[in-house]
Symmetry: C2
Subunit: 327 residues, 2 copies
């Protein structure tokens, strides 16, 4: 039985050995570039961990692991173009390093390459895996659309927001787990519980990401806090703050989130004004409770699995490393 | 046994009854819009015709027919954005009617929806169909990349050009036929011959499209001739003309294809200068021979099929209507 570190090593080796280069170069070089930028490889790791948990043969799951990571990177490639993000993992995004058309077409090709690997999976349950993969892909697209819609929309409820991050982020983690477990021929109860674990872990992770932007330790997380506030980004923090706030506080938050600051001084002032309202409405504890609640639900689902505690270890380790906390 | 007209009626009804609307609207309305614009529905028609040819049950093939048309329209949606084409079938393209991000994301979703229909196909050979669909999709992406590459490239040979149009246009016709025949459980020889028929028909069709731009009857085809010349577009016509031309004529063609004309008068002069070189090198007959050769190869492949002549009738009718000529 491999622990998390050993599975991560396997995944790293998988991507080091695999090449996505082919002709025409203009199409495949951006794909090779994207796949070699690295990243945490969370989804293939979860897929292999789920497969191992139910006694699956790793060799039957590696193609699906590559496929799920190709799909994830395809969505990043198109999202970066849609969001006009200049950097990804500290390097130029494809539409910047090449051009928008390359980002579109190389992205499309990555989606098809993801299918090529998925289709190579050796299993009697191929149809289940492919349906799960495809329905997940559709939900991820829907999540991205809701995310773009919400940026233009005044009143976004926490329920709306949770639905959006569920589709945009959580279903792909859950789908990766489901596919890994299905290849190992897990039963339907275990698959459903593992899927729920992935959903709640994904929600906890995204909520924590929102929380970190406001209350994160710069030294620990390497990201400047307050960027979402400067960008007027609708996250759990502002949306929940407005629900908790008085009408006057909510108006003030809306006014602040309508500002585009020009100088560092203006930005610092905006962040501090927002933070003082967050503090007044008790947002920090509220957000921490919401994260803890999702994390607890994730563990409840994991507890229900009919496998030994030691079989669960890699996923427990992964959850702890993602969320920086223990059960 | 349905003739071409009856199959076309079936296909029309299929798309009239099917809706692609769902939430979020911003994602699915552009898909519904695209799919309701119509078009000749050549690919689903070919798929159903191939399925019928080998005695397949039409009900098992309709989902794949919808899937192949969704895929085709997805490629048009992204191509229109990449090519900045304002119109498709006389209506505003999606990136114009909505915006580029919508074109990207709704397109991605159409590709996934195509898979949803493909996956619904009732057949014991699902894996064959899905592999054919996916490898075809990858080739179509490669074809679009070569097309964009060639626009920036000085020396494109006829062999390069044929490879490009094979991938960009012909493989999807061939793939549609292969999928239809596979659902009907045709044997591998018949599938290979039918695939070749699709390839050569697609090549003949694209070469004819190039020829029509130069020598087409405006009254018959409703398209102004010479547009490719005005746009400096690399088609069979200019590429083959350069191969046939003297160095001096070739230089003159390159000079003319470097011009961006500003007035109708300038455009007319450019077209007439190009046409006089085409005429001097005998391009018209050359192109007509090339079209006829591909058409003949298509029919040779069709002749090899181990089915009755009456079973071949719908595909013969389709070829004639596409190419406006008889066997």
């Amino acid at each position: 039985m491999k622990d998390l570190k050993a599975i991560l090593t396997t995944v790293e080796q998988l991507f080091r050995e695999e090449t996505f280069l082919a002709a025409p170069k203009g199409l495949y070089e951006p794909i090779e570039y994207t796949m070699s930028l690295g990243g945490k490889r969370i989804r293939p790791t979860m897929l292999l961990a789920a497969n191992q948990m139910f006694g699956g043969d790793e060799r039957n799951a590696v193609n699906a692991a590559i496929g799920i990571e190709l799909f994830h990177n395809f969505t990043l490639l198109h999202d970066d173009l849609m969001d006009q993000s200049p950097l990804r993992r500290g390097k130029a995004t494809v539409y910047r390093k090449w051009n928008p058309n390359t980002a579109i077409l190389s992205g499309d090709t990555m989606f098809a390459l993801a299918w090529r690997y998925m289709l190579k999976t050796e299993t009697t349950r191929l149809s289940d895996i492919l349906n799960c993969f495809n329905e997940t892909a559709i939900e991820v697209c829907e999540g991205q659309q809701y995310d773009m819609d919400f940026e233009q929309q005044q009143d976004v409820s926490i329920a709306d927001y949770m639905m959006m991050i569920r589709k945009k982020t959580a279903v792909l983690l859950a789908g990766a787990l489901q596919i890994g477990a299905t290849i190992a021929n897990a039963d339907s109860d275990d698959i459903a519980n593992l899927y729920d674990f992935g959903i709640h872990l994904g929600l906890a992770f995204q909520l924590q990401d929102d929380w970190l932007d406001t209350y994160g330790d710069v030294a620990l997380f390497g990201k400047q806090t307050g960027q979402d506030i400067i960008d007027n980004k609708k996250t759990y923090m502002i949306l929940r703050a407005c629900e908790l706030a008085s009408p006057a506080q909510c108006d003030e938050l809306h006014r602040l989130f309508g500002q585009n600051t020009q100088t560092d001084g203006e930005s610092a002032k905006k962040i501090s004004d927002v933070l003082s309202i967050y503090s007044a409405v008790g947002l920090r504890a509220e957000a921490e409770n919401a994260i803890a609640a999702e994390f607890a639900k994730a563990y409840e689902s994991l507890d229900r699995l009919k496998v030994s505690e030691s079989a669960k270890l890699p996923l427990v380790q992964l959850s702890e490393s993602l969320l920086g906390r223990k059960k």
